[in-house]
């Protein structure tokens, strides 16, 4: 236990006592979903253990910029949670199961008020109320925002509340630990987990009554994306290989506006367009505002899948990219600079620092980038995976967004998912006839041994393949073939290439064999997991012969509800993912044509 501070000093013995009499809940991941789940469990007086690769305050949630959706209707536009729900489902091209999104949209105003109460410095109206701005896929002002660092502010608010519980002795943090696998007993029930200390490299087993994975997305599979470097999807991939079902893997969001870089694609939030930013390319010597021309009703604020495809078309089919490159203009220069500073300072600063130009004066040059994982671990409406005792929340689960996520719904779904998963884990754990402490030791020992052996095996790898260069090959082929536009022959070739890389993975030579803070060994392990999920994405896309949301095949340009209004479920087998399907829960809204023109 780390140092326990605060007024109510609690001795280590007391804390151990609390842990012994209560259910044992572990949360993996310290972003919005994980921390929200932790708060909900702690409020019930139950302690939690939080595992995170990075100090939780540095989780990827900090990267979210634009805001969080909630139909508070402060502008008197007639917005309501029902409209929010409808637009979320329509934005997702009707692939989302409808129960959880409906509950989420109804809870959204409460969630934004909660963050306000926690001290998030949201932008406010002259009267002192919360201000809201427009985002994609809606005509209402529905997005609450704190400058353009909203994710950072929300994460800090939860981090601070969790720190309070930590000071009270209810939270025990394992920062700098990597989740390796779940411990699953002979009845198929999750009884704990294996984690590795990233400094000492110690591999240890933990007995838990319930484990919540809140481990985020998988942008790193594409090499470069808007994601943080920890977003490898490895935790989800690991439990997928242990029998957890992975759903809708083929749905990966491409954000229309980012700054391409050598190390990553840096996001320029949709908020830029929400505040009046216009997208254009030069044509016949004049600016051509193609989104406004093609989609007069929604203009620059069409949903992301539609905007990204439009940018792709302008650059690749019409050959109108700025300077002949993969770039278009995103223009804020017509807006008052003080207004921009007040509402978008964070992104202006990013563009200035990384691209070297002042977006208050010149248009930004942007291009689409891999951004968000709609697919994820299959969960039921209580956020439980198909493995009892193993839950998932946040970007690593597949619910809420269907085939495409609306902007500013990700912070909301992460927080709401945590709000459901925390109490759900507690309820499950309290209902257990047999708790983790009474499970036979052999269950833990055998998984610990499996993971320790894998670590030793990787450490001994002395083949000729360079792991970083091999990883570049994965990113390149995924970005080329499994992104905005997908062709079946390319998807087939991609799967072949992934299989080839999997084969060559076995011939990797590691250069660092030390037992202290060895990042290379960790990377090689995560790389395998990325390959497993890359196959799920690619084969899911290959099978789905239609176009829906982010998944677009020119060979099958239309949505095909008769054959494909169903959730993809990938189950791991030795010979690769086995794809199954289940119907979408359409209990509230009937699918209709999705049109934003």
């Amino acid at each position: 236990m780390g140092s326990v501070c605060g007024d109510e000093r609690v001795g280590v013995d007391d804390i151990e006592g609390v842990f012994m009499t209560q259910p044992k809940i572990a949360i993996v991941g310290g972003g919005l979903a994980g921390l929200m789940a932790a708060i909900k469990v702690c409020e019930e007086g139950c302690p939690v253990e939080i595992f995170s690769i990075v100090p939780v305050r540095r989780s990827h949630s900090v990267c979210a910029q634009g805001g969080i959706n909630a139909s508070v209707n402060t502008k008197g536009e007639g917005d309501s949670p029902q409209v929010h729900f409808y637009e979320t489902v329509k934005g997702g091209d009707f692939l989302a199961n409808q129960e959880l999104p409906k509950q989420m949209c109804e809870a959204a105003p409460h969630i934004v008020h909660l963050f306000d109460r926690m001290g998030v410095r949201f932008n406010r109206t002259p009267e002192g109320n919360l201000d809201f701005r427009r985002f994609g896929g809606t005509l209402f002002h529905r997005t609450a925002f704190a400058g353009s660092t909203t994710g950072q502010q929300l994460l800090y608010a939860l981090d601070e509340q969790v720190r309070k519980f930590e000071a009270q002795g209810l939270v025990k943090k394992y920062e700098g630990w990597l989740f390796l696998s779940a411990v699953i007993d002979d009845e198929g029930v999750c009884r704990g987990m294996i984690a590795q200390n990233l400094k000492t490299m110690e591999v240890r087993s933990f007995r838990e009554d319930a484990v919540i994975l809140a481990t985020g997305g998988l942008g790193m599979i594409y090499g470069k994306s808007t994601n943080s470097v920890i977003c490898t999807g490895d935790a989800a991939a690991s439990v997928y290989q242990q029998g957890a079902v992975y759903a809708n893997g083929e749905f990966v969001q491409i954000h229309p506006t980012s700054i391409p870089g050598e190390d990553k694609y840096r996001l320029i939030s949709e908020a830029a367009r929400g505040e009046g930013g216009r997208v254009w390319v030069p044509r016949d010597g004049k600016p051509w505002y193609f989104l406004e021309e093609w989609y007069p009703k929604y203009g620059n604020l069409v949903p992301r899948d539609i905007a990204s495809r439009a940018l792709w078309k302008v650059v690749h089919e019409l050959k109108l990219g700025v300077d002949g490159e993969e770039k278009v203009y995103l223009d804020l220069s017509h807006i008052d600079a003080r207004e921009l500073d007040r509402k978008l300072e964070g992104i202006l600063e990013i563009y200035e620092k990384f691209a070297g130009d002042d977006p208050r004066k010149v248009p930004m040059k942007v291009y689409p980038s891999i951004h968000y994982t709609m697919g994820g671990l299959w969960i039921d409406n209580a956020h439980m995976t198909n493995i009892p005792g193993l839950l998932a929340a946040g970007e690593c689960d597949y619910q809420y967004h269907g085939a495409n996520r609306l902007g500013a719904n990700s912070l909301l779904s992460s927080v709401y998912g945590g709000m459901v998963a925390g109490p759900s884990a507690l309820k499950y754990a309290k209902g257990l006839k047999k708790n983790a402490d009474s499970s036979p030791g052999v269950v833990f020992d055998r998984e610990l041994q499996r993971q320790t052996e894998l670590h030793e095996k990787i450490k001994a790898m002395d083949g000729s393949e360079n792991p970083m260069k091999l990883y570049d090959e994965l990113g390149d082929v995924m970005t080329k073939n499994v992104a905005i536009v997908r062709h079946n022959k390319d998807l087939e070739a991609t799967d072949k290439k992934i299989l080839e890389i999997m084969d060559r993975w076995k011939n990797i030579g590691v250069r660092d064999r030390s037992d202290w803070a060895n990042e290379e060994l960790i990377f090689v392990r995560q790389f395998w997991h990325m390959l497993e999920l890359a196959r799920v994405i690619t084969l899911g896309a290959l099978a789905r012969n239609e176009s829906r949301g982010s998944h677009y095949k020119p060979e099958f340009p239309n949505r095909d509800d008769a054959n494909w209004l169903k959730t993809t479920k990938a189950a791991w087998t030795k010979s690769g993912p086995k794809l199954g399907y289940e119907p979408v829960d359409l209990k509230y809204l009937k699918p209709e044509l999705r049109n934003y023109a």
């Binding site: 909660l114 050598e262 250069r511």
Partner: protein, 248 residues
């Protein structure tokens, strides 16, 4: 001939082992930053003497200067590696771990002390619970905008590294803590517990240990007005001290 970037890195295999310099040359590409250079080194970790070495270890995450992870000393100045563009740096570029925190390995340091400090100063707003309690208090938009500056602190440690008072032998908590106390004490409900936070920064390692060098403000990548926070808290804590003497 291809243009090369020369980078000199102060390395250290473990917390107790001695540090040493390793020098690398990597091919130049436009728009590179220190992170993409480190990535290039790790693709082919061979130093200028032609020796195969272990890949360099460093901490990073978001790569857009918002998580605070990749803070290190670059050409003698503490800053984030992701926003340190190669075109703007003199060569050879020197990379060193922060000196005010224990080194874990190479450029990676342990800043957990900062998070412990946030506990000590009660850096949170007390809420009755996360259940539905309706809207929060109305707030003056101008006051809120001012407070927002402090809420961008990413606990990166630049202010600590630049401060002459902050080191492993002193208990001085570092300027970021005062920024956070100011943030919470200015919140309409956060200020209900202002006295607890004030007491924390009036104790050992608090405000009185500040030497007024003002390096913290200059080193902050987000230009957070830390010196303003120190001045305001100085006045608040004086008032509190007087009140404690006369009222108890």
């Amino acid at each position: 001939m291809q243009q090369l970037i020369r980078i000199k890195i102060r390395r250290q295999d473990s917390p107790r082992s001695p540090s040493y310099w390793d020098e690398f040359e990597i091919p130049y590409k436009p728009q590179m930053n220190v992170i993409s250079s480190l990535m290039a080194i790790c693709r082919e970790p061979v130093n200028v003497r032609g020796e195969k070495v272990t890949p360099v270890v460093w901490e990073c995450n978001c790569l857009e200067e918002v998580c605070g992870a990749c803070t290190m000393v670059i050409n003698g100045h503490v800053r984030q590696a992701c926003s340190a563009l190669i075109d703007q740096l003199d060569q050879p570029i020197t990379l060193e771990p922060m000196t005010k925190f224990p080194v874990v390995r190479d450029l990676m340091v342990d800043r957990s002390k900062m998070f412990d400090t946030l506990k000590k100063v009660h850096a949170w707003v007390e809420i009755d619970g996360s259940h539905n309690m309706g809207p929060g208090p109305r707030q003056d938009p101008n006051q809120s905008l001012k407070a927002y500056q402090y809420s961008r602190c990413m606990t990166c440690g630049c202010c600590c590294e630049a401060c002459p008072q902050f080191n492993s032998h002193s208990t001085f908590m570092g300027a970021f803590a005062f920024g956070q106390v100011n943030l919470f004490n200015s919140h309409p409900t956060g200020k209900f517990n202002a006295h607890e936070r004030l007491d924390a920064v009036m104790g050992m390692g608090g405000l009185t240990d500040c030497g007024n060098a003002q390096n913290c403000f200059r080193a902050c990548p987000k230009s957070i007005p830390l010196t303003d926070a120190i001045a305001e808290l100085g006045m608040d804590s004086t008032k509190r001290a007087i009140k404690k003497i006369f009222i108890g």
